[in-house]
Structures are given as C-alpha cells and as structure tokens.
C-alpha cells in the first residue's frame, strides 16, 4: 500500500468523469478498493461487507457533480457513512450515582491499567474525586503498577495485596470511598480472554455487586478480526456502556473501532494516544473515519498547533511578515514552536498521505538540521540576529565555531533565510493588496 487510499479511489473513478451518474457497473472497481482498504485496516470482513452495501446504495444514482471528481464524491460518501457508523456525536460518561462506579474490562495487555490512570486524571480535572481500585488479582505486580500511577497523579488507590477475592476488594473499596469522600470509583480489573467463562463470570459477579454506571471495554487499536468476537462476548456477558481504544499513537489503522461499533452499537468514548498519562482524548468519529481510510488527520494537527502556538505571538509574527521585518530572531521563535508540535514524524503522519510519504524516510535528519539552525542562531549576538548584514567573514567563523558547524553550513543557512525573507516580503505585499480588496488570505503560518 504505497498509494494512499484516496488516490487509488480517484484512479478507479477516473473513467467515470462525464458519465453523469454513478452506476452499478462503474462503481464495482472502486468498491473493491474500498473493501480492500477496510480489510487492510482490520475491519471485520462481515462488517466491511455490510458497510460496502450501504455505501453502494447511497452512491448509486448519485449525480456526478461536474465540478468535482467522482472519486472525491465517493470518498465523501464513504467517509460520511463511516463517521455516522462510528457514532456521529461524542458520547459522554454517565457519572450519576453516589458514588459513580466505572469498570474497566478487556483482554490482556490492552492497556486497562494505564487507561484507568488516564481516566482518573481526566475526571480529577473535571472536579470529580476519583478513587482507583486495584481489582487485578492475577497479574504479578499489577497492583504496584496502579499504585505508582496513583502516586504520579496524586490520586488515592485502594489496594489489598494478596487478596484474591474481587468482591471483597470491591466491598471494602466502596466503604473506603464513603469514608474518604471519593465520589468516583474506577475498577481496574484483570485482563481475561472473552471465552474464559470462569473469569468472565467473576466480572459478572463484580458488576452485579458494584452496579457500575459505566462498563468500558478497553481495546487495542491494532486488534484484528478478533475484535468482533471480543466485543460481542464482553457485551453479551456484561452489557458494556462504551469502549476505550488504546495505542492509537501507533500506525494501526484501527478498523477494530468500526467492528466494535458495528456489532455492539456501543459508543467509543475515549482514545489513548501515548504512554504518558495526559495522552488521552475524547473519541472523534470523523477523525477515526479518516484514519481507517488512511486519509490523515488534519484536524488533530491543527488543534495541536493551536495548543502549542501562542495566539499573540502569531499575530505579532504575521504583522512582521507583512511588513517584511522577519528577522533571525523570529526565525528562531518559529523553529522552537515547531518543536513544540512534537517530533516531525508524528506531525507528518497526520497529513493526508503523510504516513505513506514518510515510509523509508529518515526525518530525524531533517530534525537534526533544524537543531543545527537553532544552534547557529543562538551563537549570534542579538545585534547580528536583527541585522544579518553585520555577519562578516570573521564573525561567521566565530558563529560557526561556537555552534559546531562549518562556515559553509552557516552560509547555506543564511542563504535559505534570505530567500525566506524575500518570499515573505512578497507575501506581505500580496496580502496587503488582498486586504484592501476585502477578504484577505490567511497568514502563511495558518491562522487556524
């Protein structure tokens, strides 16, 4: 799969232009591509089949709008349909009940303990008083793991080392919560196979005793066809209220999300996007749809950029650019802001086709170059940064030595910078012109 999904689809639809209508025969090839893409993304084959049927019905007879390519039109139909299937609205947690109880269940190694910690952190931020309950009585050191997470977060953890009766733990945890005014209990249960009847029954007993408001299935985003069986079994035994999809920071396309939603109808409430405790987000169906189809995640990127970039800085920068006063100092600021977005490869991956484009490329080289640039600018005096013309041969040798590069490298950087400055001046003029005409282009840095 070196071609992105949408470009493949557009290829399949090239012949469709000018036909006026999408018909059964000319859609077949495209739908085959869609099916393959879904299967590659680990969507369960039955779910994929049903999905294709739905898309077919929607697409058939749809007018081919002259101005856009039929391929794009189909992509839109597909991603809309996928978004709808994944749940068109975000599902919130049910936190009624005093105290409210949340049960985390799932297979081994799905990420239940980490997710419990992350969820507790989120709830604490929302003003709840969470209590983490260590209910994994099987895995060695599982309780220690939760305890450590609790300490890191400053959230109390209820644990009884050596206790093997989950119900007993639950009873005492509820008492503990009452005595210590904790209003939200998160039960971190042991990983188990969905077909391990004895262990599943243990969960059923725990559920009947605790009567939780939320029973969340924690599912690894890389789960394959098996996701359907896992979800169905856990749902029929426990009546899940939702799911948490973990390890989405990897490159798994996450078709399991669609499988899960399609067979249980339960909403996906959160996603885990990293090993750190704040890497946890509400689930966004439309972003997941793009991901499953391999179409990138521009929205998340923009959001992250907004988080990393200071609005005022941005305005100031734009103003400077418009006036053609972009200095090396501003360039340094920009380099640093880019760093805040995280490693370049993560940023690239969010762009449509970015993951494909990046295959086999070593972005760390590019990153190293940025680092060198930063060092070079840091090696200059503030006067030099403002007026690069000051940099004569002697000064250049000094800067190069100080930042551990050759003078040639420094020269290359300075040339690049000069080009950039030129370009920005032009852009600034152009923008002024546009501004007079009303409207105006968004700044080069993207105003959001």
């Amino acid at each position: 799969m070196f071609e992105s999904f949408s470009s493949k689809l557009q290829g399949a639809f090239r012949n469709l232009r000018g036909l006026g209508r999408i018909s059964e025969s000319n859609i077949a090839e495209a739908l085959r591509e869609v099916r393959l893409a879904l299967l590659e993304a680990d969507v369960n084959f039955k779910v994929a089949r049903d999905f294709i049927e739905r898309v077919k019905i929607k697409a058939l007879g749809a007018e081919v709008i002259a101005s856009i390519q039929p391929g794009q039109q189909i992509v839109k139909i597909i991603s809309d349909e996928l978004t709808e299937l994944l749940g068109s609205t975000q599902a919130a947690l049910d936190l009624s009940g005093t105290p409210s109880c949340l049960l985390m269940v799932g297979l081994h190694g799905a990420g239940k303990t980490t997710s419990s910690g992350k969820l507790a952190r989120l709830l604490l931020k929302q003003g709840r008083l969470p209590l983490l309950v260590a209910a994994d009585v099987y895995r060695p050191a599982a309780m220690d793991q939760l305890e450590t997470l609790g300490q890191q977060l400053g959230i109390p953890v209820f644990l009884k080392r050596g206790e093997t009766d989950v119900l007993k733990i639950a009873r005492e945890a509820l008492d503990f919560a009452k005595a210590n005014q904790r209003n939200t209990l998160i039960f971190d249960t042991a990983g188990r196979l969905q077909i391990d009847e004895a262990l599943v029954q243990e969960l059923v007993r725990l559920r009947d005793f605790v009567k939780p408001q939320e029973i969340l299935l924690v599912l690894d985003a890389a789960t394959g066809q098996e996701a359907v069986n896992v979800a169905t079994h856990f749902d029929s035994a426990l009546q899940l209220t939702g799911a948490i999809l973990t390890k989405l920071d990897g490159d798994a396309r996450g078709g399991a999300a669609l499988s899960l939603k399609a067979v249980t109808g339960r909403p996906i409430k959160f996603i885990g996007t990293g090993e750190k405790l704040d890497e946890f987000e509400p689930f966004h169906p439309e972003r997941m749809a793009s991901r499953i189809l391999g179409m990138g995640d521009v929205v998340s990127l923009v959001e992250r950029a907004a988080e990393a970039v200071d609005e005022d800085d941005l305005k100031r920068m734009e103003e400077k650019m418009r006036r053609g006063q972009f200095t090396l100092e501003d360039f340094l600021d920009q380099l640093r802001q880019m760093k805040k977005l995280g490693p370049l490869e993560n940023v690239m991956k969010m762009l449509p086709g970015g993951a494909e484009a990046m295959k086999g490329q070593d972005l760390s080289k590019q990153e190293r170059e940025f680092k060198h640039m930063e060092a070079m600018i840091c090696g200059m005096t503030s006067q030099e940064r403002r007026t690069p013309a000051l940099l004569n041969a002697k000064r250049r040798i000094r800067v190069a030595k100080g930042s551990g590069v050759t003078v040639t490298e420094l020269n290359t950087m300075m040339n690049k910078f000069a080009q950039m400055q030129q370009m920005m001046k032009k852009m600034g003029k152009f923008q002024k012109m546009m501004g007079k005409m009303g409207g105006g282009l968004p700044g080069m840095l993207g105003r959001r």
Binding site: L36, L39, E40, A41, D42, N44, F45, K46, L107, H108, G109, A110, G111, T113, Y138, R139, P140, A141, A142, M143, D144, Q145, L146, E147, T148, L149, Q152, L193, I195, D196, D220, A221, A222, T223, G224, Q225, E226, A227, N229, V230, K247, D249, G250, D251, A252, R253, G255, A256, E275, P343, E345, K349, L363, S364
Partner: protein, 303 residues
C-alpha cells in the same frame, strides 16, 4: 499432556472454526466457483490471514481445481500446503553460543506479553538444565520491575534490575556483566514496550543492543519480537519496523490460547522470512511451546 496435543488444544479454536467454515462451504456447494470461493476467502480473512495471503491461497485453490478437475481438489490439502509453503520450517530452538552467556533480547510493542514471555523462556530453559538470568530492562512502565521480580521469585531465577528512569542500556550492561561473572547459559533481556513508530524509542533500543554488543561479541545473539495473536494486519508493520531497527532473529506469538488466530504469522513469514520460535498458550510458566510449522499448518486445517 504431550506437546502436540497441548499445541492442538491451543489452536483448537482457530482450527475448529476454520474447518467448520470450509466444510460448510465444500459440502453445500461442491463446485468451487464464484460464491463458494468468496466464502472461503471470508473464512481466511476472518482468521487474520490478511488480504494478500488470502488471495494467494484462493488462487492456488482455483488453480488446483482447474488443473485437477472436479474430482481432485481437497480444499484442506491445498490450503495446508499453501500455509506450509509460507512457513518455511526452520529450527525453532534458540542458539547457544559457546564461551559465555547467550544474550536474548525480548522486544515488542506495549502489552504483547514481553515480561511474561521472558519469564516463560527462563522457565523453559531451566527445565532443560540450563542456567538462566533475567534482566529488567523496562525502566519506564510503572511496576514493570516488580512484575519481573515476582516472576524471578516464583521461578527462583535471579533478576538484574536498576531503578525506574534509569538508562535501560546500563541495566543491560550490568546484566551482561553479571551473566558473565556467574557463567550462566542464557540471559534474557525484558525490554520496555515501544510502538514501532516511535523513532526515539527505537533508537534507544538500538543503543541498548550496541552497548551489549561492545561488551560481548555478537550480543544480542537472539532478538525475538513478541507479537500478540489478537493483532491484525498491524503485526506486519510491527515486524517490519522492528526488523529494520534491530535485525530480528525470530518471533514469539503470544495469547494463542482460546482466540482464533494464527493467520498473520503466515503473512509475516511470507514477507520477512522470520521464523516463529515459540508460541504462548496461557498465563502459566509452562504455557510456552516451541513452534513447529508443520504442526501449525496441520492443526490449522486438519479435520
């Protein structure tokens, strides 16, 4: 329980479902055309064979049907032959390097069962009268060190550990020194889980290997990627990327008990030629079995 029967019991799920599906397809419509082939395709995809591998098997079945005629093709035989062909059988046992400890690095993404597998491997070689040592090189995840220490205590195996946040490479270095001093046969490094897409974490792993490589020639002698059997097509990416960063010598597939999996292994071996060395069939120390391609293919398709 014999090895073979244990193996079969573990794969029973996969096997029974596949056989059931294929039987249903064959008995209902003996002519292998159109819709029945499509159903066979679904059965294979459903077992996580992946689109490419599935198409290959389907093509072989088609070809056999066309060449041998209606009396010929036995779907099971053809499918088994195809799977076997792609699971080039290679000795599944680990190397034992003379003149010092054989260093085995256990790597993989988060939550595949590296720690449990390291412990099981220690137990497996202990049972073969080898001396072993475990190293807790996961200094990142909360309680990872305690987890392997509990295992060490249970199995009476010494565990070399550092503190949390310590450089994993330095723990590995200490472990190799200890292994050399004690003259053990095998040293298992339980490394931290890392997603194959995290460049910096992969570099950390490369560094770890570099450090111990300087200490003992050829170390790590074995680099085993632990794969979760429930993983779908992403397993291929995982294997690909890990193999690129730290040349792997084999795979260990875990959690094969009870779930109907096995397919993705075929796809991985086909592309990367990495042999599966062991399979994990449960949570107990003895639930680790050497992998046998022939048995695997047989258990997958036989009646």
């Amino acid at each position: 329980m014999g090895l073979f029967s244990k193996f079969k019991a573990g794969l029973a799920q996969t096997h029974s479902r596949l056989v059931h599906e294929i039987k249903r397809i064959v008995t209902r419509s003996p002519k292998l055309t159109g819709s029945s082939l499509e159903e066979l395709e679904h059965a294979l995809i459903g077992a996580d064979f992946g689109p490419a591998m599935t198409l290959q098997i389907i093509a072989a079945v088609k070809l056999a049907y066309e060449t041998r005629g209606a009396t010929g093709p036995d779907v099971f035989a053809i499918a088994r032959a195809e799977v076997e062909k792609n699971l080039a059988s290679s000795p599944s046992d680990l190397l034992q390097v003379p003149g010092g400890p054989t260093v085995v690095s256990i790597v993989g993404v988060n939550g595949t069962g590296k720690t449990t597998t390291s412990a099981k491997l220690a137990h497996y070689f202990q049972a073969q009268k080898k001396t072993v040592l475990l190293a807790a090189c996961d200094t990142f995840r909360a309680a990872a060190i305690e987890q392997i220490k509990v295992w060490g205590h249970r199995l009476k195996v010494e565990v070399i550990a550092g503190s949390y946040g310590a450089d994993a490479a330095s723990v590995a270095h200490d472990a190799v020194t200890a292994a050399q001093a004690r003259g053990v046969d095998y040293l298992f490094l339980d490394t931290a889980g890392r997603l194959h897409t995290k460049h910096n974490l992969m570099q950390e792993l490369q560094k770890l290997h570099r450090v111990i490589g300087k200490q003992r020639a050829g170390a790590p002698h074995e680099v085993l990627l632990v794969l979760d059997a429930t993983t779908g097509m992403n397993a291929l990416n995982q294997a690909r990327e890990f193999h690129k960063a730290v040349p792997l010598t084999g795979l260990i597939v875990t959690k094969l008990d009870g779930t109907s999996k096995g397919g993705m292994v075929v796809a991985i071996q086909k592309e990367l030629g990495l042999p599966v060395k062991f399979i994990g069939l449960g949570e107990q120390p003895e639930d680790l079995q050497p992998f046998d391609a022939k048995q695997f293919a047989q258990a997958l398709f036989e009646e």
